[in-house]
């Protein structure tokens, strides 16, 4: 039986491919995988694909799409071919992310206290105050150890020459880490022995590091603080992740209705009465976290939570109000923050970003709209985007009108040709665009980044959008040890 035919793989022009330098010229980090694949027939790989689907399904790693009252279980598409990152690439990413997070955390501390960065005119005050995620409720509120960002999922992409760029800093409630963990578990079953042979670094430490950090943040000096994970509930699309993390850390998974505030302290309702809660890892957005302070119609949060937070009786992870630091318009100032707070040159590059609030930049963007990606500053998940290279004249005109209504709400970036990685599709390997989201954990002892992350794939041929809500899938991500 002949192995999988790799000769049909065609690099996309002017694009960095993770596996091939040029046609038939493999990068070293993929040698072992390709050797392995050459021994497998297409039907073997099809079987592996089936096995992967079955494992996801039987473990309930699914999200539910509700259609006419009937829940339909779907799995997040998974491509079986791992994406490989070399140890030197990883070393650079790690340093770059740590530097960036240090600066972003100092920025949050600063905007919510002295605001030196505004007074020194590094960032315009108008930009900060016009950001809907800048929360006055956080002003002068002391968070434990001055840490605002405990968990970050910074999205990285690679341009045609392989340079890494930061596309987005996700500093609020980044999701997807359970897929990093599950994808690895599944790959272990799909390619027995290959992981140790390739010397792939393990990702399993993530929950224990996170747990240790959460424990260290407890405001009460008790040996065994009560830590909970606050979820919006089982109808949330990331619910599987919430239960996985709660189980792996051995903490209680709660919903808003399980919690109650007494004397500015947080308690959970248990079968043996009320029990005080010290640390809340929340997966509920700022807006919904306390109906007395934010969205009054929210039933996902806890009335009075902010008062307990302000009083210092509970730690909230991530801190409330982080959205001001990952706002897409504030994003373009992150290199300046790094220089301002750390006096260092930024390691990871920003994608050039045009502010549509600025008349000159706006004019330039309107002239070159077909080469731009235009995004709303406060949307995520790939919603409300205009991909200039694929848009029609009419779509562009309509979008311009939208922009003119509220220019602050939009930014534009030149279209980056994301790198491609091989995916197993219809019996052959085909290049598809990918990004990378490593997960960084910040605790009182410093920043740790588990070697790996979530590689998201745009499964449609030619597509540049990797978001799962827009038809994206994921891959296991291997970081090799040197």
């Amino acid at each position: 039986m002949s192995g999988v035919n790799l000769n049909t793989y065609q690099n996309v022009p002017d694009t960095w491919d993770e596996m091939y330098i040029s046609d038939n010229n493999l990068r070293e980090q993929y040698h072992k995988i390709v050797e392995y694949l050459k021994k497998e027939s297409a039907s073997d790989l099809n079987k592996k694909e089936e096995l992967a689907k079955r494992l996801f399904m039987s473990q309930g790693i699914t999200f539910t799409v509700y259609d006419s009252g009937e829940g339909i279980e779907k799995i997040f598409p998974f491509d079986i071919i791992p994406r490989v990152i070399t140890s030197s690439e990883w070393g650079f990413i790690e340093k770059g992310i740590k530097q960036r997070l240090k600066a972003l955390n100092l920025f949050l501390k600063d905007v919510y206290s002295n605001q030196f960065i505004i007074k020194d005119k590094v960032i315009p005050a108008a930009l900060i105050y016009s950001c809907p995620h800048f929360l006055r409720e956080m002003y002068q509120l002391n968070v434990p150890h001055d840490i605002y960002i405990h968990i970050a999922g910074i999205d990285l992409i690679r341009d045609y020459d392989g340079t890494f760029y930061v596309l987005e800093d996700n500093l609020r409630t980044p999701s997807g880490v359970s897929y990093m963990l599950e994808n690895r578990e599944i790959t272990k079953r799909l390619f027995p022995d290959l992981i140790p042979q390739c010397k792939v670094r393990s990702v399993t430490e993530y929950p224990s590091i996170l747990y240790k950090n959460l424990q260290a943040l407890s405001p009460r000096a008790v040996s065994n603080p009560t830590i909970v994970l606050l979820s919006p509930g089982m109808y949330n699309s990331a619910y599987y992740e919430h239960t996985t993390l709660a189980r792996l850390m051995g903490v209680e998974l709660v919903e808003g209705r399980d919690l109650v505030i007494r004397d500015q302290k947080v308690f959970m309702k248990t079968t043996t009465g009320l029990q005080q809660v010290d640390v809340i890892y929340r997966r509920v957005d700022d807006d919904f976290i306390d109906p007395l302070v934010f969205n009054p119609s929210s039933v996902l949060g806890v009335a009075g939570l902010m008062s307990a937070y302000r009083k210092g009786n509970v730690a909230i992870i991530n801190a409330v109000g982080n959205g001001v630091a990952d706002d897409k318009a504030v994003y373009s100032y992150v290199p300046d923050m790094i220089k301002y707070y750390l006096n260092e040159e930024p390691l990871l590059k920003n994608v050039p970003t045009y502010s549509l609030d600025d008349p000159d930049q706006k004019e330039y963007v309107f002239q070159n709209m077909n080469k731009m990606v235009i995004k709303k500053t406060n949307e995520s998940g790939g919603y409300g985007m205009l991909m200039g290279h694929a848009a029609t004249e009419k779509e562009m005109e309509d979008y311009k009108k939208e922009i003119l209504k509220d220019p602050r709400n939009f930014i534009a970036q030149p279209t980056i040709s994301l790198s491609t990685a091989p995916c197993y599709m219809d019996g052959v390997l085909q290049p598809r665009r990918v990004d990378l989201r490593p997960y960084a954990l910040v605790g009182p002892d410093g920043i740790s980044i588990v070697p790996g992350g979530l590689t998201r794939v745009a499964l449609k041929e030619g597509s540049l959008v990797v978001n799962s809500s827009q038809g994206g899938g994921s891959k296991d991500t291997w970081v090799l040890s040197s």
Binding site: S58, Q59, G60, M234, Y239, T243, T271, T272
Partner: protein, 311 residues
């Protein structure tokens, strides 16, 4: 433990137990419907195990395949297997981190099995017992997995209380319906297959034969189903277990609530311990069973109030 979690564990367990009871009853009744010269009546089964509307059921009650399909797959029947397993799974999903991963996967498989189109095909076109056997096996896997993987603590207590509460109510219901049919049709008293099916659907046929040699007697059946401590589906066995698992919940933190519920469970346990076949007959079996059921419902309500924070 969170009140919400305790409540989900309890209901998860009740739903699985309910599905077990319905499946076994369906299997036995379907088999006997293939073994009769008169028209087989599904009336009692439908009355015990469906919550659907009367007209719909009247239309199908003489067609065995349709009844099986209705009780397994009909979304409008709140007690159909597909509906209760969906609920069981939703409860399990909301407490996933409290139950063993193996148990969650087991329940998840059960759910996907019920939804498998092949099962419907067995019921409609092929041998319905194959479909029922596949599902019964899923329940057995669930119980085996629960037994060998679940931690022995509060979690287990709430699950067990749910299981035995559901089981006792089911046994009482089956017994009650069967005896009510007799009062309107005394010929059944001497119909061997009638009793045999009652015992088979409770899984007590073999034990009955071993315990009471020689023929079926109404008294003996009442004794087995209500008062036999060694029969795992008897009312007394379930009540003993409810008491046993409830006592493990004792804690200094909520002594008042514990004592109040403990009083009710203890009273029920004593009353059933000192019941005899003669006292049941003196009171009227139907009246006795109704009283017993109300006691059990009362325990459910108090759990809701004191432990699940639903007030």
């Amino acid at each position: 433990m969170l009140s919400r979690v305790a409540s989900s564990l309890y209901w998860l367990s009740r739903y699985v137990e309910r599905s077990d009871g319905i499946l076994r009853m369906l299997k036995i009744n379907y088999a006997s419907s293939q073994d009769t010269i008169q028209e087989f009546t599904w009336d009692p089964v439908i009355r015990i195990s469906s919550g659907g509307n009367e007209e719909e059921m009247a239309a199908i009650k003489n067609d065995s395949r349709s009844v099986v399909e209705y009780l397994l797959f009909n979304r409008d029947n709140p007690n159909s297997i597909i509906n209760i397993i969906t609920l069981a799974r939703e409860n399990a999903r909301s407490v996933q981190e409290h139950i063993a991963t193996d148990l969650w996967q087991c329940l998840n498989e059960y759910y996907h099995t019920v939804k498998d189109p092949k099962l419907l095909w067995y019921v409609q076109k092929d041998d319905p017992i194959t479909a029922l056997d596949i599902l019964i096996k899923q329940v057995m896997l669930y119980y085996g997995t629960a037994d060998s993987t679940m931690e022995r603590g509060e979690i287990r207590s709430f699950m067990s209380i749910g299981k035995y509460l559901e089981r006792s109510i089911q046994s009482i219901d089956i017994l009650d319906i069967k005896f009510i049919s007799i009062s309107s049709n005394p010929d059944l008293l001497t119909d061997t297959s009638y009793w045999k099916h009652l015992l088979l659907s409770l899984g007590g046929y073999e034990l009955y034969l071993k315990t009471y040699r020689g023929g079926f007697e109404a008294d003996n059946i009442m004794e087995l189903v209500i008062l036999n401590k060694d029969f795992p589906r008897s009312a007394i066995y379930s009540v003993n277990n409810i008491l046993r698992y409830f006592e493990r919940l004792k804690s200094d933190k909520n002594l008042d609530h514990y004592n109040s519920l403990s009083f009710n469970i203890g009273r029920l346990n004593s009353s059933i311990t000192y019941t005899t076949v003669y006292s049941m007959e003196a009171e009227g079996l139907h009246n006795y069973l109704i009283k017993l059921k109300n006691e059990l419902y009362g325990i459910g309500n108090l759990l809701d109030k004191y432990y699940f924070a639903n007030y």
